[in-house]
Subunit: 71 residues, 2 copies
């Protein structure tokens, strides 16, 4: 798998599930504008919100970050 | 592997390498007091510093978070 940045990665996951930013944010229990800024690659997300996003996708943290660059 | 919180997890990784908090923080390019607060489970670490820590251990983000609870 090619390494991607985190925003691109979660956008791909979200789109593959046919969810809008708003629907996914609601599912994950995250503020919609906060989620949008992460999805758009504009925010340095926190560990706690990473956990919420991984729960929203039904993935472990490790699964969520599989293939994401550590840079 | 039992799920652990992130602080316990990186402390185990660090201790298994025989590194003090200070030595590891220097290696990872993170402020020592910031690193100590994460290692002690007192801080909600950011994505960018997660990347620095994974680099410091020579692991991918996914490898770093393997077995860490997403709660």
């Amino acid at each position: 798998m090619l390494l991607k940045n985190f925003g691109d990665h979660i956008r791909s996951l979200r789109e593959s599930r046919g969810l809008s930013q708003e629907k996914f944010a609601l599912k994950a229990g995250i503020d919609r504008t906060y989620y949008a800024s992460v999805d758009n690659g504009k925010r340095n997300i926190s560990r706690i919100n990473l956990g919420k996003i991984s729960c929203g996708f039904g993935l472990s943290l490790s699964e969520l970050l599989d293939g994401v660059t550590n840079g």
